[in-house]
Amino acid sequence: MFLSANDIETGSKLEADIVIVGAGAAGITIARQFANTPKSVLVLESGADHLDEPTQALYQGSLTGIQAGPPLDASRLRFFGGTTNHWTGWCRPLEPSDFEHRPDWPESGWPISRSDLDPWYREAAEICDLGPVNFDDPAFWRRMPGGNRISALPLDRRRFKTAIFRVSARPRFAEAYRPELQSARNVHVVENANVMEFLPGPGHAAGQARKHVGRAKVRTLSGKTFTASGKVFIVAAGGIETARLLLLSQAMHPNGAGNEHDLVGRYFMDHVWLNANCYLHFSRPNVDLPFYFEQMEIADAPVFGKVASTRELCLKEQIGGFGLWLTPSGGSVAGIESAHALSESLAHGRLPDHFLTHLGNMLADIDVLADATYKTVFHTNKGWLSANKAAPVTGAWIDLNFEQRPSLTSRVQLSAERDALGQRRVAVNWDLGETDRRTATRALELAAQEFGRIGLGRCRIDLDLANGWPSNLISSCHHSGTARMSDNPATGVVDRDCRVHSADNLYVAGSAVFPTAGYANPTFTIVALALRLADHLKKVIA
């Protein structure tokens, strides 16, 4: 059942067994697990069923670190369905090794293993409507109807692998699951409901070591205020907003709920995306690698591969995991190279040498530039130019995305600015360190060596980090790590069950709990973790 918080009288006291804050991939998944059960569920969603500017503006904040990617009120969507409303649907689990501690990264290691999560990954595949799945074996897909064009690159298995992504046929959780929640009698989704903070239950003052959330304080943009109480509370508000809400809950603890060890908001991570800093010129014309170049429609859903690092390589090089995206290129590359040169120079406040030549190159290759821009904006390998078979493929632009090493200094904090509800906004200091610089540079070098070794072609690398990160660095908007999972309260905000260490009924769902983020897109793991949390809660509140 859906209702608007604007229709709830001020001073009301809502009650449910389970209170979920946020209706994105995680929140909707958990709510569905309890639909049509004896447990009452209350989902508090800030937005309604469509994007509303005043509500979306609540996401505004400042970027104080790396200035990359869209602003904070564009990288996330604040209405029912959350960020799945613009999710590309790319699914791949984290690697088994992503869960393991690596000796060169003391802050790494999940308290659970990949095999612990595998049962819920399988269930997540059904929820995301992936159909047949295999994430590591191109031969599996080659045997499928429509897969006969697949040929896997003969990569050195100790160093590289073909990482396979399946694309969800049902990425819009709002469209897919709204009717189900609408009809569930025990589930109430309250839209336009902004949770302001968590308040401790009776007898659980801020000074106590072990706390208990009693109520969530809710407010609407129209000025209505009410509270919601429950047996358990789940924050499922994304990697940034989850930290914000915990930090705002200072009645739970002066530093914020769960923040006894100053960890909430720290270890903020994203997947770094470097767009076209490497050009691979093929050794022969018209190389056709459809599995790497495009999304192939197999068994009613798209699937594609990218070249990714192995853990062995990452440990040897002491770098993060990474993936390489090949975008086939036909014709001239001069325009794109000139665009890079121009962009870099302008970012440093000067015109480049040979400015007019660069400008001429860009104008001459305007179609190629438009194609590349389209692919970058929409994160797709399919542009209109690459689909044009008349343009012979002579090479490929390589995009690099990689795992950020978790760092204390990369963090989400509350700023002094306030939103329309009077809440402090966030200041996000996305901070990349020396390991990340090494990952970026070594990943492209290693790729050039591997593509040379297998005779695919030769690479030209245009990445110079001497003066900082290049202007074409993009945030993947995969915000994570701000309420990291650990068995030790001194090193993590939540435990292996995603429960906040210092509160007996407060849980976090979503990528905020990731201690490390690998290189794979996070939503598939978010759904799997949400399913696991739901199963845990079924036992807890049985």
Partner: protein
């Protein structure tokens, strides 16, 4: 660093090596200097020579004769080796260069050392050492 003619460099390298391979595969036998000539005869390009010039200036291996001998030594070929043997050795050597990180950065392009040495020979052959 010199900016190369980006569209021609690899076409030239690939075509030159391809031409040499084709001749070797036809069973012809060359001495070291003949190999150099065979490799270079079809790409009389100032672009490639310029590349080689960059490498030559930046490396100690500036003497073309010793470089040719070194190349043959690296390939593990006798001076009288037949074409197919040299072709295989050259391909293996280049593959090994990349596998073991023997890679040279020339104006952004990552070439194997062997490829770069071929370019140096080209530079000497065409007198374009800058």
């Amino acid at each position: 660093m010199i900016e190369l003619g980006r569209r021609s460099l690899f076409g030239l390298l690939a075509s030159s090596i391809g031409v040499a391979f084709a001749r070797w595969r036809n069973g012809q036998t060359f001495d070291a200097q003949t190999i150099v000539d065979a490799l270079l005869e079809r790409f009389r390009s100032h672009d490639l020579a310029a590349v080689g010039g960059v490498v030559a200036r930046e490396s100690a291996a500036a003497d073309p004769d010793s470089l040719a001998v070194k190349l043959m030594h690296d390939l593990g070929c006798d001076p009288g080796a037949g074409g197919p043997q040299i072709a295989r050795a050259l391909a293996n050597r280049i593959r090994g260069d990349f596998a073991e990180g023997r890679v040279i950065n020339i104006a952004g392009w990552r070439l194997s050392e062997t490829e770069a040495n071929l370019a140096v020979l080209a530079a000497h052959r065409y007198g374009d050492l800058g």
